[in-house]
């Protein structure tokens, strides 16, 4: 038993977090910044954070993840990191020549109170920012929220680049939230089918799923351009997918530049995808083509074909709030029963939303925002499940408790596919249900006595 010290009996903890279901803000900001074309993320803190965040993202994507750091020393921690950041900006433009430097902070620079905008101004005045280059900054204190918060903060900083010309450009802003490059690709494909002209930001497709060609480009073809971000203020509207990840940026465009916004759920599963497509059609005044309805019908077909295997299966899932909300809805919609749901990210409204989605469940449902995997494991010990869904860290619980396990979320460190194949949209829904069926039916095949071993399911 890998987690042999986890007792079944639950004592509430107030001080120690064990096996977190979250990590800290800056990695989210780094991921978001990689969705800007020609952008080098920069971590304003001591260099350990940057090394850890790059490593985690690289392990997840099996792709290069470039980011620079201010490399604070003890001196900068006492006197402030301005000198470090000014040097860094000069060195980055001289040596790496990105179009954009997107700076985020850490608990170190936040605790000492460095002011990014003031440092940016100084850099511009000193002439270290070449013409046509952009500095973006987001404050991402690690002791607030989680990696999701950091993502949202950087996306908001991206939205803040908007410079409305006063003339609407007929485009729709779509903020996809923290999804995979493959998911962003899928959202763009669906939008194209619907005939909506969208600006997707951030957009990591083509950045974190690139080819091997004998060439290395620190700044690949993909990513949303600064010009596109400036144009966000002229859009006819914004669709923010995911309250935690995307709402802040959308609301900023709404309040600051009068670009109306709708906050939707992330398009995982049937209903959330329906709402997204419908909203996209209405806002851009287009007609949804039969092709999209056909894809949707395929997903409904699979649900009906295999419904007996989904029906009333108990599921434990953990991850980030926006993703979990849509996934919970999807599971409920095919008569599966999410019974233990944990996110490490704070937010009481998460618990309310999950309770609402699972109110008709035949089983009692445990949900916790600011929970951890230690608690989730204890819940499972007390009320076993048929399936576990979550990031790679779930494999320890899955092995100990012998539960079929599907890797979904961030980070996935031990499998491939997330960067290439979507789980959003109808096509993503099909892929996800294929995974569910594989996990459940492999288990049935493994455990069936010889006389009950089936050829056909």
């Amino acid at each position: 038993m890998l987690l042999r010290h986890t007792p079944k009996e639950i004592n509430e903890r107030s001080a120690v977090t064990i096996n977190p279901a979250k990590t800290c803000q800056p990695i989210g900001a780094m991921y978001a910044a990689l969705g800007i074309h020609g952008c080098l993320p920069h971590s304003h803190g001591s260099q350990g954070c940057c090394a850890y965040h790059r490593s985690a993202l690289t392990r997840h994507y099996k792709e290069p993840v470039s980011a620079a750091t201010s490399s604070f020393t003890e001196g900068s921690s006492v006197f402030g990191g301005q000198a470090n950041l000014l040097q860094a900006i000069n060195n980055i433009f001289t040596v790496y020549n990105p179009d954009v430097i997107a700076v985020h902070t850490t608990c170190l620079s936040e605790t000492i109170g460095d002011d990014l905008n003031q440092i940016f101004d100084k850099a511009r005045k000193e002439g270290t920012v070449p013409a046509g280059k952009t500095l973006v900054g987001a404050s991402t204190p690690s002791y607030v929220g989680s990696h999701v918060t950091g993502f949202a903060n950087m996306v908001k900083a991206m939205a803040d680049l908007a410079e409305p010309t006063g003339k609407k450009n007929g485009k729709v802003n779509v903020i996809p939230g923290w999804v995979e490059p493959s998911d962003m690709e899928e959202i763009k494909r669906l939008a194209k089918l619907v005939g909506a002209d969208i600006t997707l930001f951030p957009d990591t497709s083509g950045v974190l799923n690139g080819p091997l060609s004998g060439e290395y480009h620190m700044f690949p073809q993909g990513g949303v351009t600064v010009a596109e971000l400036k144009g966000c203020g002229d859009a006819i509207g914004t669709l923010a997918l995911g309250d935690w990840c995307s709402a802040d940026a959308a609301r900023l465009l709404d309040t600051k530049h009068k670009v109306p916004c709708r906050i939707l759920d992330m398009p995982y599963g049937l209903k959330a995808t329906d709402r997204f497509i419908d909203a996209l059609r209405i806002i851009s005044g287009t007609v949804v083509p039969d092709e999209v309805s056909y894809e949707r019908g395929q997903l409904v077909d699979l649900i009906s074909d295999m419904h007996q295997y989904f029906y009333h299966k108990k599921v434990a899932l953990f991850g980030d709030p926006d993703q979990l909300i849509s996934m919970t809805e999807f599971l409920v919609s095919i008569d599966m029963c999410p019974v233990h749901i944990v996110t490490g990210t704070p937010g009481k409204r998460f618990e309310r939303r999950i309770k609402e989605l699972t109110k008709d469940s035949p089983f009692p449902v445990n949900v916790r925002a600011k929970g951890d995997l230690f608690l989730l494991h204890q819940w499972i010990k007390n009320e076993p499940v048929d399936l576990l869904i979550g990031n790679t860290y779930g494999k320890y619980i899955a092995r100990d408790e012998d539960i079929p396990f599907i890797r979904w979320g961030f980070p996935i460190l031990d499998r491939q596919g997330h960067q290439y194949f979507p789980t959003v949209g109808y096509k993503g829904g099909l892929r996800f249900l294929e995974k569910v069926l594989n996990a459940l039916l492999d288990r049935q095949d493994r455990d069936a006595p010889e006389e009950k071993f089936e050829l056909v399911y």
Partner: protein, 545 residues
């Protein structure tokens, strides 16, 4: 944009150095010039490198921080101590199972390795201080697990807000009674790299654990294996070989280790140092306090393994052990040699580059040379001058302002327990045979003339080096792996071993030969261009016409 093109000219090392520095702002170029060394024998002096200095902001370094060196590297691998990180969640999360220090939970089964503990500081803790929460977290951990020890690790904000973690630790230790609680002030901003964290860890382990258990230990030829972290099972393979030779390992610092190993380390009669950078402090302190001499060993490479075993046997000087060691080498080598002969035709003449933490960039050159491969360039992220140039430079090292606040602890001979392991006469006899204690010559003497030795290599230089010198394999870490492979150059991680290993000892050598053969001769490197990219001209006629 970097591309690996066909080499047209044979670059001279001076040209390469010039090329690397060309792009930098003047100040940066001046600094980097001192950290890029062309390995050459100068008249009356060895070349001198600048190392262990602050990182250049914005340069895209490979380095991590003090906390990583302390918690992640040294303290992480011990299975029956709960490592509690005091800070926001990230530091604990990123060090959760990400270093592959394998662990055998043993008969007692006490193993906290798969767990990650954090006080998960919130903004209120930053504002009002986190001491109360830390004390409560220690209590909760104790109530849940009753571990032998709970260690506390400071992260960046802890030092800034002035949480007194050592007082909290002392108070809780008294309160709990049967649990050793102590803390590490390993804030990420201290020093200039992981290295400061090693030093801080060494100090606290020595102060709070070494010498706690005075029960005599069974076994012959008692050694400590220092600076071996059991990555990919390296330590298991070394243990296997040592056991086979009849050598008793009292403690390993700190791969697959337990609390009691630290507590009993002073019972050994020799300390063998693998990773000099991370553990030489403890090796020195054990000698001063308990009279245990230390020697440098290396179990990376079959030849080096044999040499290290012979050195241990020579130290103990008993014929029985000397014969046993020879018998083990004789038994192990044929299989190693068979695999070596198998791969040699496919690896001979190939070239390698190694840029790894503070130790492996040196040791792994032995494995490559066993395969007939040449090292063109190497360097460390965070080693000091003694790791490059040898320990003889230590008296001349100046501690600069960035590292001045890393504590040096004063150790004296233990009035009761100090016991020199060798008499003066024995020491002289060993010296006469050329046996050396406390000696490490560093990486430079083992590298060919004209090779480039580079400290704190960065992303730009890594790409440039590969582009100019086109090695057949490049060794570094996860952050470098995929940018190098995009260039079509095989890349081997020498931190995580790409989930492979062990690479230490005799079986490790076999694994490594096979792995490098697989990597440098993989078919995939021939697939980078599609047929229409290789021959874009339109064909003149259609075949079916």
């Amino acid at each position: 944009m970097a591309t690996a093109k066909k080499k047209l000219v044979q670059w001279e090392p001076t040209d390469i150095k010039k090329e690397l520095l060309k792009k930098y702002p003047a100040k940066v170029a001046r600094k980097r010039a001192k950290q890029i060394l062309i390995n050459e024998a100068l008249e009356n002096t060895t070349p001198e490198i600048t190392a262990n200095v602050r990182t250049i902001p914005g340069i895209i370094t490979m380095r991590g921080c003090t906390y990583a060196g302390c918690k992640g590297v040294i303290m992480g691998p011990t299975r029956d101590i709960v490592n509690l990180v005091h800070g926001p969640i990230g530091c604990s999360f990123y060090a959760w199972l990400t270093r592959r220090n394998q662990t055998d939970a043993g008969v007692d089964g006490e193993n906290y390795m798969p767990y990650c503990f954090s006080t998960d500081m919130q903004d209120s803790d930053i504002i009002f201080g986190g001491e109360k929460k830390l004390a409560a977290a220690i209590q909760e951990v104790y109530d849940l697990f009753h571990p032998k020890a709970i260690t506390i690790f400071a992260t960046c904000p802890v030092g800034l807000i002035g949480d007194d973690i050592h007082t909290v630790a002392r108070t809780m230790k008294e309160k709990l009674g049967d649990c050793n609680v102590f803390a590490f002030s390993c804030e990420g901003y201290k020093g200039v790299s992981q290295s400061a964290g090693h030093h801080i860890a060494n100090n606290q382990v020595f102060t709070h654990m070494v010498g706690e258990n005075n029960e005599p230990k069974e076994g012959e030829y008692k050694i400590n294996l220092l600076g071996e972290y059991n990555i990919g099972g390296d330590g298991f393979e070394i243990d296997r070989i040592l056991r086979k030779c009849g050598i008793t390992t009292i403690s390993t610092f700190s791969g697959n280790s337990t609390y009691d190993q630290f507590a009993s380390a002073h019972m050994a009669d020799l300390s063998c140092v693998m990773c000099h950078r991370s553990i030489n402090y403890v090796a020195d302190m054990m000698e001063i306090k308990f009279g245990i001499p230390w020697i440098k060993v290396n179990f990376i490479g079959a030849k080096s393994t044999a040499k290290s075993l012979r050195k241990i046997a020579e130290y103990f000087g008993e014929q029985k052990l000397i014969d046993r060691v020879e018998a083990v080498i004789a038994e192990e080598m044929p299989q190693v040699e068979a695999v070596r002969q198998d791969v040699l035709p496919r690896t001979t003449g190939k070239t390698a580059m190694l840029f790894v933490g503070g130790s492996r960039a040196h040791h792994y050159q032995d494995l490559f040379s066993e395969m007939g491969m040449k090292t063109l360039s190497a360097g460390y992220e965070f080693a000091h001058r003694d790791d490059y140039e040898g320990r003889h430079v230590i008296p001349h090292l100046k501690v600069d302002a960035d590292s001045r606040n890393i504590e040096e602890i004063e150790v004296e001979a233990d009035p009761k327990r100090y016991r020199p392991r060798k008499t003066e006469a024995e020491l002289q006899a060993l010296a006469a045979q050329g046996f050396t204690f406390k000696e490490y010559d560093g990486i430079l003497p083992d590298m060919e003339a004209g090779t480039l030795v580079i400290d704190d290599l960065n992303q730009y230089e890594a790409e440039k080096l590969v582009e100019l010198m086109q090695p057949d394999i490049f060794c570094a870490g996860i952050k470098e792996k995929f940018s190098i492979q995009k260039l079509g150059v095989p890349m081997k991680q020498l931190h995580s071993y790409d989930s492979g290993g062990p690479y230490a000892g005799f079986k490790g050598a076999v694994n490594f030969y096979r792995e490098i053969d697989r990597l440098v001769n993989s078919k995939v490197w021939g697939y980078m261009k599609a047929p229409w990219q290789e021959n874009p001209e339109l064909s003149a006629t259609y075949v079916w016409e």
